[in-house]
């Protein structure tokens, strides 16, 4: 008797869209998932529409001359606490924008940084943050060439916010974007997932747990260059930040009009991340990463790309986690550890601990 049944969807501990969509902004609008997508598509794009923005990649790709293509991106950083195990808001700001640019197959060159400082902020804290930015910029090989500073009254910022913009030059002959995944491509992941989200949550202290975990925040441009040098078969690059791997893969599946099938067994998760997620009722696939990338690579080039990744400091644990398929269109499926298939949806609203 045939046992083929349709795969089941499981979304995990997430917040569905509240009834009053559109009246006020809620935290879920910033979480990287469906709510945020709704805001972008429903409010921002209708006003600011242009083909570059509509492509929906991590950076905008523009041609200055026929042979000079640039990737330009911008990011705001509002993380709290400012300092967490493995990093801080400064390192996050630099790496986040370097990575957004790199995900378009570009060499990041220049960053701008503007600061919103809260009245009463300890200048020693600001100094530490800026020193950290310098270290990250040196590691990434970029320069911060323009800046701005504003101060707001006490209570109007969590200490400080940083907004960055980044410019990079797209490597010649490279055409990487969310729309370029093709059936047959293999999906690569550069290392274990969920470290950043859980480390920051632990550092906040509200849920009372201690984890021997550090954020994975890191600049990935050298890793990307090594991958592109090793093979011409890289079609998509994406860093799974807010919303996690699940959201990033759903974006790719939608943009490319393909399906993606994952192997749950193959997805690396550190034991401490696993334990924290079990305790809180989270799915690691939804937890933010700040030093990881996903790559859709043509199958004949996957091995070479993987080897190049594993030779790099931030790619030592790179693995193949699945493949791109023709169907189901725009959806992501996962073969579970016990052999069934389920749909992996994007994050809907905010990730919340559950009792159920």
């Amino acid at each position: 008797m045939s046992q083929v049944k349709e795969p089941v969807t499981f979304e995990g501990a997430v917040c569905p869209v509240p009834v009053h969509l559109g009246d006020t902004i809620v935290l879920g609008h910033g979480s990287g998932g469906r709510l945020m997508r709704g805001l972008i598509e429903g409010l921002f794009l209708p006003e600011l529409d242009n083909p570059v923005l509509r492509a929906g990649n991590d950076a905008g790709r523009v041609a200055v001359r026929d042979d000079v293509l640039l990737a330009i991106s911008t990011d705001s950083h509002v993380v709290w606490p400012l300092f967490f195990p493995g990093g801080d808001i400064g390192r996050l700001a630099v790496c986040g924008t370097v990575n957004d640019v790199a995900m378009l197959g570009a060499e990041p060159l220049y960053l701008t940084a503007s600061f919103i400082l809260e009245e009463g902020l300890d200048t020693g804290v600001l100094h530490r943050v800026v020193q950290s930015m310098k270290r990250a910029a040196v590691e990434a090989g970029v320069e911060i060439i323009a800046g701005d500073t504003k101060v707001v009254e006490k209570g109007k910022a969590d200490g400080l916010y940083i907004t960055t913009a980044g410019v990079g030059r797209i490597y010649p002959g490279v055409d990487i974007g969310g729309h370029r995944a093709q059936p047959g491509d293999l999906m690569l992941l550069s290392g274990p997932i969920g470290d950043h989200g859980i480390a920051v949550l632990g550092a906040r202290g509200e849920l009372g747990f201690e984890a021997k975990l550090e954020s994975d925040v890191a600049p990935l441009n050298h890793l990307v260059r090594a991958m592109l040098e090793a093979s011409p078969g890289v079609h998509v690059l994406r860093d799974p930040t807010r919303g996690g791997v699940a959201t990033a893969l759903n974006e790719i599946a939608r943009a490319s009009g393909v399906g993606i099938v994952l192997e749950e067994r193959a997805i690396p998760v550190r034991p401490a991340v696993q334990a924290a997620c079990e305790m809180l009722g989270f799915d690691p696939l939804f937890v933010a990463n700040e030093g990881k990338l996903l790559a859709a690579v043509a199958p004949e080039h996957a091995k070479a790309t993987l080897e190049a990744m594993r030779a790099q400091p931030y790619g030592g644990n790179a693995v193949i986690i699945g493949e791109v398929t023709a169907e189901p269109l725009g959806r992501v499926l996962m073969k579970t550890v016990i052999g069934s298939h389920r749909v992996v949806d994007e994050l809907s609203g905010e990730l919340l601990p559950r009792i159920c």
């Binding site: 809620v26 009722g281 073969k335 609203g349």
Partner: protein, 369 residues
């Protein structure tokens, strides 16, 4: 993780499924009344792997789904008050009341905080003596001892600024209500493992006898659930109707006595409305009169807005296993996870939300490579 990973072993899953397949000779309908089990069944795609003869029905086991609209409206009113810090488990933030939800209240300036443990809410009261801390004490029997302890602890600390908004539910009366329904198709139950860890399973023997249904205490990992199903199906095939324990590593027949004593000290049984089902007598717990000063309903004199349930919503029939979500005319049209009409579409463990995503995947019919 120990005592978790071993119960997700693919070989053991395959073997148990093969046993189930060998055992069934005719269709059977089993119900679980536990959001955590629904969650696990969905996450591991268990229904996909079971033989078609075994039908799993998801009962009213999700505290989010069954919390009456009135309680949510009371929560929203209390949380909106400027002097209040409203503390809640994460699950409840996402449930819409008659108008808003706790997220919107937070967006409008209400101090709404997620806590992992009710003791964290007590600590908030200790830290913020100038504010009123109200804790949304919801859940089934599993959570009742913890919620009770929070009240008792606040009393021992002499806190003046701590109170709880109670909405507790008990499983056995719900089982009676479901089994008494003339349309009931349920032939066996998987009893919620952690509810039984607290309460034991002696309460289920009269249910099994009266309605002649097997009841198997079941855990939460995929192997646990498959084992519970296997034991239930064996009973059904053999014409038996007994209470068995498929989760012996965490559950004993008498349950947890200190926990039961704490529940009994702080709470008393009362009637309770279940969202989508209606009033089930003696199916809830309320604060005993001697703890009245910790009752947020009295402290804040919340009258509650007249709750307005959607007329379209069939949550009730679905929660009782009488209908499936696709039977509902609003399903997937007026009612989606982004615009839910009722509780079973709101919660990620709710049957409608689970079926909605299941239905989406049917559009993509090709089997994965």
């Amino acid at each position: 993780m120990r005592f978790v990973d071993e119960f997700r072993d693919p070989d053991l899953a395959r073997a148990t499924l093969a046993e189930i397949r060998k055992t069934v000779t005719r269709p059977w309908v089993l119900m679980e009344i536990c959001g955590g089990q629904t969650h696990s069944i969905m996450r591991y795609g268990l229904e996909q792997l079971l033989p078609r003869e075994v039908e799993l029905v998801h009962g009213p086991g999700c505290p989010v789904c069954v919390t009456p609209l009135e309680q949510i409206d009371k929560a929203l009113e209390i949380a909106s008050r400027p002097e209040v810090i409203f503390a809640s488990y994460g699950d409840m933030l996402r449930v819409p009341g008659s108008g808003m939800d706790l997220f919107s209240v937070r967006a409008a300036g209400g101090d709404v905080r997620v806590v992992y443990s009710p003791l964290d809410a007590v600590r908030l009261a200790q830290q913020h003596t100038d504010r009123e801390v109200v804790f949304f004490a919801i859940g089934f029997e599993t959570t009742a001892p913890a919620n009770a302890m929070a009240v008792e602890h606040a009393k021992e600390l002499g806190l003046e600024n701590f109170s709880v908004l109670v909405s507790h539910a008990r499983v056995p009366p719900a089982m009676h209500a479901i089994l008494r329904s003339p349309d009931c198709r349920v032939q066996g139950f998987l009893a919620a493992g952690h509810v039984c860890a607290v309460m034991g399973y002696w309460e289920y023997r009269p249910v099994a006898e009266q309605y002649h249904v097997p009841i198997v205490v079941t855990g939460f990992e995929p192997i646990d659930i498959l084992q519970g199903i296997l034991m239930a199906v064996r009973q059904l095939e053999g014409g038996r109707a007994e209470v068995e324990n498929a989760y012996p590593r965490a559950v004993v027949e008498g349950g947890n006595e200190p926990a039961q004593e704490m529940i009994d000290r702080v709470f008393m049984v009362c009637d309770r409305k279940w969202r989508g089902i209606g009033n089930i007598p003696s199916s809830g717990w309320c604060l005993r009169p001697e703890y009245a000063r910790y009752d947020a309903e009295l402290r804040f004199a919340v009258s509650g807005i007249a709750p307005q349930e959607s007329e379209l919503c069939l949550s009730g029939a679905i929660l009782q296993g009488l209908k499936k979500p696709p039977d509902c005319p609003a399903f997937g049209r007026e009612c989606t996870p982004e615009a839910p009409q009722g509780a079973t579409m709101v919660s990620s463990e709710g049957a409608c939300a689970a079926y909605y995503r299941y239905g989406l995947s049917e559009r993509a019919t090709a089997s994965p490579q």
